[in-house]
Symmetry: none
Subunit: 226 residues, 4 copies
DNA sequence: GTGGTCTAGACCACT
DNA sequence: GTGGTCTAGACCACA
């Protein structure tokens, strides 16, 4: 997100409690610490995080808008459930957004952008060799965010942020075995972007998402809780 | 939206303050009551709405997530700016989501769904004749939401909610003259959905969004406010 | 400082901007990034840290109380100068405080306390072998703080905090060659504490500080700037 | 304190608001106007002193560093509590610093220094006869500061400033009956300093502090306030 | 609703 | 003009 690598000041780095709560809450859902269908009361979350209920409330509004929880009036929040329909719907949308991103990226990518993408591929390759699968998952998200970044479309950027968290979620609670395979598709995608071939990039993105959807829907483990 | 038509209880009808604040806040931005670039302090909003600052804070997190305002750490909220790039980006994403919705709707629409869509078209026609343009704009959003509803994809539904508010915004602060024209495209779209022709529906949606984008980008009035 | 190793919550970990500015400011002085005698304007520091001037002002009051800067009325802050007298004065005071601490520690140390001290000695030994001198300096401060912690005297604790930052400063801008030697003295000190011998502990502390003072005064590099 | 006796300009006399707030705040704590354990909100202090909250905040940082209040993150300031342990710890440290000061003073005192000390003793004697106990307490602090001043150790000077305010605090909230007695010990101390006898001065200082500690710990009135 | 925290801006004294 | 000082106002978090 900050490709310049410049030194950040204290002021810019300082994050509000609300923000930290938001990230930790999202992480716990995505990582399955808070299971699907689990009831999340404000008090419980406030205790878990060692803060008062106010920052918790604001964080809950955001994860609700992102679709991670449902908030029932006067009944509190419940972690959303990833049933097959939800996953299918998610990937259908993802395909549309990602093909658009790939096409735009192919038109706009500079050499620097391509270098950045290739570097992510190399890092992922190294992490895969080292069997550091958490890092691989992280780099997967980073790669797709980078493509969207290159596309230059700010709406894609803001809409896809929540989407990739969900994609991550699907694979965390599902199967991780697809990791090695997907990176070959990533390489093809970067090649088409580097070639500036919009058509080919769009197709490469479509194939990648369709393969990912296939994997997600087959490999899924049903674990709705409570 | 509530096809059951059953009587709702008081408890179910009650909407949280936060929710009312959210809708009114969004309305004021979309209607231009709060101009682009305008600074929105929590205290001012709390006064405007006659509530305490807490529900205002939570509503602000949501409109931020929806892209209507930017929140600067320790500096407060500022209404987002609809420059040409933002509009272009918005319509590029809209095209992807709406073509997907149209294709899915063509596959899944029942006779009842088609009737519902046609009824909206008729209402809009009547409203146009009556020169009730606010109602027309409202029906425009309702129509597109209905198509997405028919598509049955819940992700589309949740992602597009914020999107249509933005589309609405673009036309409010831009030009409204496109209204009569767009309904002819809507009729064609419903015809293709009724015919169950996915391909044709996708194309009809694309043409519609492209025409809308064209209109939005040409008719746009520059009114960024300090 | 937190020997229990328990998980800290977000709320407890969150630090005010003022606090971060304070630590970074102190670090930059101790590390020589801000040289002795250098003028520190509030604006410059605010820019350096990317914050407004208010947290900077509050941090300046603290480093002034700690003796790192002098604040001239309506003239701003200047980094203090470590001349020979200052170093001599510092070590004279340190001797008094550290001999008291050692004596009290000998009287009160539990087995757990002794284990903690020995662990620090081992860590330092490892860091010395690894030639990680920054870590050695850090462990040096940690060791002395631990002794004072064991002494149970809260006044010693609060007064010595600033003092050890100064000691660190003296060695950073002076010579680092004393590191290996001092740890032998530390070992002797821990042995006397473990034996519960107040007299011997007091003596060991005195000898250690005197040797450190000797080293500091001989090895000192004169670098007052501006 | 200003032996030159020259006329001071207006500029030099002007003290920053922050400084005045600091001294008044410290005075009110030491005099018990703000009781132990009392909560001190910024707004309240700002009102009490008729200034804005900013100089109050800066003063609070200083009294915190001096140990008069504890500042809880995001919760505000509370006046510290003088329980028996705190007093005992304080006097243990005081003994170390004061014996050092006495020894150094014995080595370095000029005739002028000795005269200055004797004059303070006479003033105190007069004030005691006049039963002006506030003045006596003030002269007590002035005497000890003068000894440290004569010692020439600037670290002692800066560290002991806060310490004597605390000593003063202990006697204000405790018992004042020790005043007459302590001056005899002061006289002996000055005699040893005048004689240039480091050993004897150190001993005299130790006996004095031990007697003071004894008095403080016995005469203490328990008044921790909610 | 109260209170801590930070920012922006105005004042004013020394260059 | 530069820079320390203070005030006003607003965000953020707690109860």
């Amino acid at each position: 997100m900050d490709p310049t690598g410049e030194v950040r000041t204290i002021g810019a780095d300082h994050v509000a409690l609300r923000e930290q709560v938001l990230e930790e809450l999202r992480r716990r859902i995505v990582d399955g610490d808070y299971a699907q269908g689990e009831r999340l009361t404000e008090t419980r979350l406030a205790d878990d995080f060692g803060v008062s209920r106010n920052p918790v409330r604001e964080a809950l509004r955001v994860v609700e808008a992102e679709g991670f929880v449902h908030i029932l009036p006067r009944r509190g929040a419940v972690v959303a459930t990833l049933d097959e329909t939800a996953v299918r719907d998610l990937f259908a949308v993802r395909e549309q957004l990602e093909t658009l991103a790939a096409g735009l990226a192919a038109e706009r990518a500079t050499q620097k952008d391509v270098d950045r993408l290739r570097r992510l591929l190399e890092d992922a390759s190294a992490a895969t060799d080292a069997k550091d699968f958490d890092r691989v998952a992280e780099l997967n998200s980073a790669f797709h965010r980078a493509v969207i970044d290159v596309s230059g479309n700010r709406w894609l950027l803001s809409m896809s942020a929540a989407m990739y968290h969900h994609v991550h979620w699907v694979f965390r609670v599902g199967a991780a075995q697809r990791a090695p395979h997907s990176w070959e598709e990533h390489i093809r995608l970067v090649d088409t972007i580097a070639a500036g071939d919009r058509e080919a990039a769009t197709t490469a993105a479509r194939l990648h998402v369709e393969a990912a959807a296939q994997a997600a829907l087959n490999g899924r483990v049903q674990r709705p809780t409570a």
